[in-house]
Every structure is written in structure tokens, then in C-alpha cells.
């Protein structure tokens, strides 16, 4: 075989080629791993998204260690108590910063500029994270877990999901907590981050654009109607920021 032989051209029918082309088209490397962000991102309110991801990494790492060592370790050893506390406070911090992130993005109307899917994946992540935490509290293997489970069962049954989400069933709750729901949260966060990379961070509202929109709509309202009574064509209300 000659070393100078040209490589064969990839077949356009290949699903791997089609997938690669679509992925690179949607997320070229300079978008996937950018070397800079717009100036407006230099604000504390933009910190809470990445703080949520940092907390999630701590939760997954500490949770993996807890799962490997087991309840006797996390209840009866000093190091076990330490990792148990790291896991708990990681969750507390995760929800704290995620809620602040959510508030910030809500008041920025972060779904603007074709970013609806970014907003939706973020909101669904929050909604899935709540039932991910609950089976953790009932999987502690202590009286606190029993109390929470017996308090939660009526609510869970009332919404009609108690048949397959039985909070008094430790094995089932442990599976939901360490595998099924965390995988869903991590996949949703991954999709959310990739969508942010694709569409870019939402810019702040610009006052000039709002002023121009208001001036334009005021001018349209003040202009006299044509003599034949026909309405004038709609005027632009300025750039939606």
C-alpha cells in the first residue's frame, strides 16, 4: 500500500458523516469553546449559572463516594459524616444558586432572540432537580428519612404517582436518587449548556432600543389617518432587544 495514496472521500450516505456535519454546523469549535464573552457578561448575575454547575459536580462526586461506601460508613465514621455533610450542603447550595440564576434569567427575559429552548431546558432542570433531591432525603437510613417518607407519601399518592414512586420503599427511592433522576439532571444541564453555547448569552435590555420603540409607536399614534379611512401600514417598533 502506497503511503502517497489519497484518502478515500467519505460517503455522504454515511450516518457518521451526516451527524458530524450537523454537529459542527450547529456548534462549530469556536462557539463550543469560545475564548471570550461579550462585555455585558462581566456581571455578578451571570455567575450563578456556572456556580450551579460547580455545585452539581460536588454533589455527583460526593454522592458517588457515599454510594460506594454505604449507610454504615456515612452514619458511623467521621469521614462518612464529612462526605454526608458535603453532599447535603452541596445540594443546599445547588438550589440556592440555581434559584438566583432562575430569577436573574426571568427578569432578563432570557428566552429572547431565539433562546426559548435555553429557557425551557433550564426550567425543566429545576423541576426535575426537586424530585431528585426528595428520594435522597428518604434514603438516609435514619429516623429523619422515615419521618420525611411518611410525611411525603400522602402528597405523592394524592398526585397519583405513588404506585411507581413509593417514598416508603428504600430500594426504589435509592435507585431513583442515585441513577435515574441524576442522569436526567446531568443530561438536561448538558443540553442547557450546549444551547447556551449555540445561541450565546442573552444580552441585557438596552434603554435606547426601548426609547426608540416608544417614540416610534407614539409617532404612529399621533399621525393623522388617511382621508379614505384606510389604515396606514404598520410601522416598525424598533429592534426588540
Amino acid at each position: 500500500m502506497s503511503a502517497a495514496s489519497p484518502p478515500t472521500a467519505p460517503s455522504s450516505k454515511s450516518w457518521t458523516v451526516r451527524t458530524r456535519e450537523r454537529v459542527v454546523e450547529a456548534l462549530p469549535p469556536e462557539k463550543l469553546l469560545p475564548d471570550g464573552q461579550p462585555t455585558y457578561v462581566a456581571s455578578w448575575i451571570y455567575v450563578f449559572g456556572v456556580a450551579s454547575i460547580a455545585a452539581l459536580i460536588v454533589i455527583v462526586a460526593s454522592g458517588s463516594i457515599l454510594a460506594l461506601k454505604g449507610p454504615a460508613w456515612w452514619h458511623y465514621t467521621g469521614v462518612g459524616h464529612f462526605f454526608n455533610s458535603i453532599h447535603l450542603w452541596g445540594v443546599e447550595l445547588f438550589f440556592f444558586v440555581m434559584v438566583v440564576h432562575l430569577w436573574g434569567k426571568f427578569w432578563m427575559a432570557a428566552w429572547r432572540g431565539g433562546r426559548a429552548r435555553v429557557w425551557i431546558t433550564g426550567a425543566i432542570t429545576f423541576l426535575v432537580a426537586v424530585p431528585t433531591a426528595l428520594p435522597g432525603y428518604v434514603s438516609q437510613q435514619n429516623f429523619d428519612a422515615q419521618w420525611i417518607a411518611t410525611q411525603a407519601k400522602d402528597g405523592i399518592n394524592a398526585v397519583g404517582v405513588g404506585a411507581f414512586f413509593n417514598v416508603t420503599n428504600f430500594g426504589q427511592m435509592y435507585s431513583w436518587h442515585v441513577l435515574l433522576l441524576p442522569v436526567a439532571v446531568v443530561l438536561l444541564v448538558g443540553a442547557h449548556v450546549l444551547l447556551v453555547r449555540r445561541h450565546g448569552v442573552v444580552p441585557p435590555f438596552t434603554i435606547d432600543d426601548r426609547k426608540a420603540a416608544l417614540a416610534s409607536s407614539s409617532a404612529a399614534a399621533a399621525s393623522p389617518a388617511p382621508p379614505d379611512g384606510s389604515s396606514s401600514p404598520p410601522t416598525s417598533t424598533g429592534t426588540r432587544s
Binding site: T39, A42, S43, W44, I45, W103, G104
Partner: protein
């Protein structure tokens, strides 16, 4: 250690709650919600380190 912690935080009582109409919250949760609001406001109001310098540099490039 546990004796010391129990001396600081006496948990041997029912939770204190805030009740207003149908709203029923533990004081601990009210404190956390209040902290979130404070952090949210600070995040909006406090300047980010280096933000002004970066904005000035960006304006310099543009002119």
C-alpha cells in the same frame, strides 16, 4: 463536638414557623429565602471586578 453544637443550636423543640393566611413556612426556610433575595440584589448592584476596565478597552478598540 456534638455537645458543643447542641449548646449553640438547641433543636429540642418544634420548628418555629411563620403563618400568614394559607402560607406556612419554617423560620429556617424564610431565612434562606431572605438570603437568596439579598444575594440576588447584591449580584445586580455590586460591580464585577474588572468590568469597567474591560468595557473601556472594548470602547478603545471600537474607536
Amino acid at each position: 463536638m456534638s455537645v458543643l453544637a447542641s449548646a449553640v443550636f438547641n433543636l429540642n423543640h418544634p420548628a418555629h414557623t411563620v403563618d400568614w393566611e394559607f402560607i406556612h413556612l419554617s423560620v429556617a426556610n424564610v431565612v434562606v429565602i431572605g438570603l437568596m433575595l439579598i444575594v440576588f440584589l447584591l449580584a445586580i448592584l455590586l460591580p464585577f471586578p474588572g468590568a469597567a476596565r474591560r468595557a473601556a478597552a472594548r470602547r478603545g478598540e471600537g474607536s
